[in-house]
Amino acid sequence: MSTETAAATAKKESLFSKKNRKLLVDPLDDSNPITVQVLGICSALAITVQLQQAVIMSLSVLFVMIGGNVIVSLLRNMIPDRIRIIVQLVVVASLVIIVDQVLKAFQPDISEKLSVFVGLIITNCIIMGRLEAFALGNKPGPSFLDAIGNAMGYAWILLAVSIVREVFGSGAISLPGMGQVKFLPTEWFMSEGGFYENNNLMILPPMALITVGIIIWIQRSRNQALIEEN
């Protein structure tokens, strides 16, 4: 590391110190909001039929999470204690409305498919939880990292589940702006005389729960520390 960057890092109170790195990395695995804390699970189950929806949803949550955490952190010394939950709600709700309006203007089809779930980001426990537990007591820098960490922890589960569900359920992958790309040749499908059939169960809600369950299983068998004692 050159002296220049080292000095810059020191001046910023080392934004990437070990403690701050932990803020960023922990929610991805050890304290993942979905698989470990089991928060925000309803949206994870509802909108993971297609990858493009999961991508847009993840970006929306990322935006709301960062905005909410940073704003609440900046205001943390000004917010009256007695109305702090209301203030947090107003901040989150405003950000969600902005996201919803932007989606309606620029991604109308996906906005329609996500329907109520964008609005329900307001009640997403991950966001309220981080605002109350972290942003209210920490500086904007760490809050920003904490927001990215938690939003990414939410996002990668969403993306993983939706990739599994879309590949096996629709034989395709979709990304915003690209539409749905079917990568299997049509003659492979049984309706065309082939041998392959999409698994319709994958598209149905139970399979989202099962997929999340499998991810939790893999995660806990890798990381024994997460297993609760009975």
Binding site: P80, D81, I86, V87, Q101, A105, F106, P108
Partner: protein
């Protein structure tokens, strides 16, 4: 610290400041995105109208296809008299364009409560709406086969919220050429099924019963259907009833227009 963060006065001041800031930010966002959103809504409307005549369009070609297939846009009043007609290019900003008539808003504002109060009584409904100055849009399309098709927007209530759709009638003004429906918050798997093709396809080729008490019926699951009815959605009874109600109520207005048209031709 000089200011007591927990005093009532500070709490009030903080709340007021917060509301002002948030209100301004949201109003600004909504206003600056409104044009794009309106354009998207207009595209969607065109796609739905084209869908009712079996032309599938997406957002990129909705405008072009709409101009190609929809040859005339008519606005009629409650008594079936023609108020205005145009064949010019659609301008979503032009309030006088029949395309811009917001049937959902009209329904919410006046028709919904009046229809509920009238409870199927046609005369009472007409009386309640007579001073509302309502206009109803009608879209005349010409298909690839050269057939004249009339597309009529319908709006009603499902179980949880609004339902709407488009019914396309053939030139004889009694045969249903196609229909599509959509909803805001009906139950997935039950009422929400009205938008699926297995349901809307049943309407094709059915006829309106001009002489009968009901123009068209959506029957409760399993009942035998004739040429004036379709089978409703099992488990979506109230949504199916809503489809039934909106078709009957709305099409009656248009029948008055069609009658005057056929009389004028003779």
């Amino acid at each position: 610290m000089a200011i007591n963060k927990n005093s009532t006065g500070y709490t009030f001041l903080f709340s007021i400041a917060m509301v002002v800031v948030v209100g301004t930010a949201l109003a600004f966002t909504a206003l600056s995105l409104k044009d794009r959103q309106d354009a998207n809504a207009a595209d969607k409307k065109m796609m739905d109208i084209l869908g009712a005549i079996g032309v599938s369009a997406d957002r990129t070609n909705a405008n072009a296809l709409f101009a190609e297939y929809v040859v005339e846009r008519v606005a009629i009043d409650l008594d079936g008299r023609q108020v205005s007609t145009t064949s010019a290019a659609v301008d979503p900003k032009d309030k006088a364009d029949p395309f811009s008539i917001d049937v959902k808003k009209d329904y919410r504002a006046s028709i919904k409560s009046a229809a509920k109060a009238a409870d199927g009584d046609e005369a009472a409904l007409a009386a309640a709406l007579s001073d509302k100055d309502l206009e109803f849009p009608l879209f005349r399309c010409v298909t690839d086969a050269g057939q004249n098709i009339y597309v009529i927007p319908v709006v009603g209530s499902g179980l949880w919220g609004p339902i709407w759709g488009y019914v396309a009638l053939e030139e004889d003004m009694t045969t249903i050429y196609g229909a599509n429906f959509d909803h805001k918050t009906e139950t997935p798997g039950l009422g929400a099924e009205i938008k699926e093709s297995f349901f809307t396809d049943k309407f094709k080729g059915k006829k309106l019963d001009i002489e009968g008490s009901a123009l068209f019926s959506v029957l409760k699951g399993g009942a035998p259907t004739d040429e004036n009815s379709v089978d409703g959605i099992t488990g979506g009874t109230i949504t199916s009833k809503g489809v039934d109600e909106m078709i009957n109520r709305t099409l009656k207005v248009y029948l008055r227009y069609f009658e005057s048209q056929t009389r004028a031709q003779r």
